[in-house]
Symmetry: C2
Amino acid sequence: MNCDDQGRARGHAVLVLALLAVLGLVSQQPRSGYDVRKVFIETALAHFSASPGAIYPALRRLERAGLLSGEVERQGTLRPRRVYRLTAQGDRGLKRHLGRPVARDDIVWHMDELMLRFVFMDPLLGRAATLEFLEEMAQELEAYLPELEAQLAQQEQVGTACSRLAVQQGLEGYRATARWARRAIKALSSG
Amino acid sequence: MNCDDQGRARGHAVLVLALLAVLGLVSQQPRSGYDVRKVFIETALAHFSASPGAIYPALRRLERAGLLSGEVERQGTLRPRRVYRLTAQGDRGLKRHLGRPVARDDIVWHMDELMLRFVFMDPLLGRAATLEFLEEMAQELEAYLPELEAQLAQQEQVGTACSRLAVQQGLEGYRATARWARRAIKALSSG
DNA sequence: CGATACATGTAACCGGTTACATGATTTT
DNA sequence: AAAATCATGTAACCGGTTACATGTATCG
């Protein structure tokens, strides 16, 4: 069992999770840092930073990277607010990121990112793309489940009762998500 | 809706997740940094760092904090290995952390930590404590579910179809975990 | 002899958390 | 007048990722 040079390629995956959330929110409508914070706090959107020391610098970085442009707005607000919009480049980048195919790797390691993509996808890429995304997700999940079950059955001997139960819990989560994806497809097709 | 002074208290919760995993693994048996890495990689234990730049410094920090003690071992190994054991203080600290009651907050924000505690709990605190832990988990989950359902029903009007489906997905996860906890209790009681 | 596995580390960079600062406006 | 809300930020600290460095032993 080789341990060398593993443990890499984990940080960003083109876009860090929090940045994807920020871009997605700004894509819905122009927002200030405070607006983004509010959404993070009120909706418990995933579980993101929400601290000013994270959000304001992140917006600045996205602006430096050319994905957002911020303009100071003075009308009708207490204090001047710096309101951000997607640039053309940001729009392209976000759409490209949202449109990427669902990989096995995403299912195993980045389920939260997949859900985030799902939330922001519909208005930007259209219903057909959203349904395709869900179909890919469902298929990847349904292909992954038997493998997990085989692993669990195979390791029924080794490990403690509790470690096996913990694996079982993970498996149940994947099963629930697979069922959810199928139901979501139906809901979005007929609705 | 007040946004001030939110977004705090999110980093450590006495023990950061990765440190809890490291302590738990060392509690099972004396391990070196390489051993810990192997477990992180091979078992996909949650999804932890596993990079040497994370693990070796973490072990050193835990040693400086008095929770671990490392001794260099030269027999029967290729290169001298620094093998760590729990100190008396580390043992006390880990047991205290594992034995904390399950709070609503843990259910909402730190489910992964709860699962980690579950995995390491049985040998250290005994079967009775493990069953009590699962019972607390099940009860907190079952109390939380109706609230989530109410929120979802209430916000059936606002939000897009996709955002509602995303919330639904989270709900299904909690439901699956609640069912799992009840089954785990049965399995560990009778088995 | 070269590749692979064993084993431990370091240094630069980046970014999140914590905590504090600031200041205007509305509410009590 | 005081408190709360709106709104934006900064600076120190800490730690993870990435990437590189190093060296031994075994296997083919």
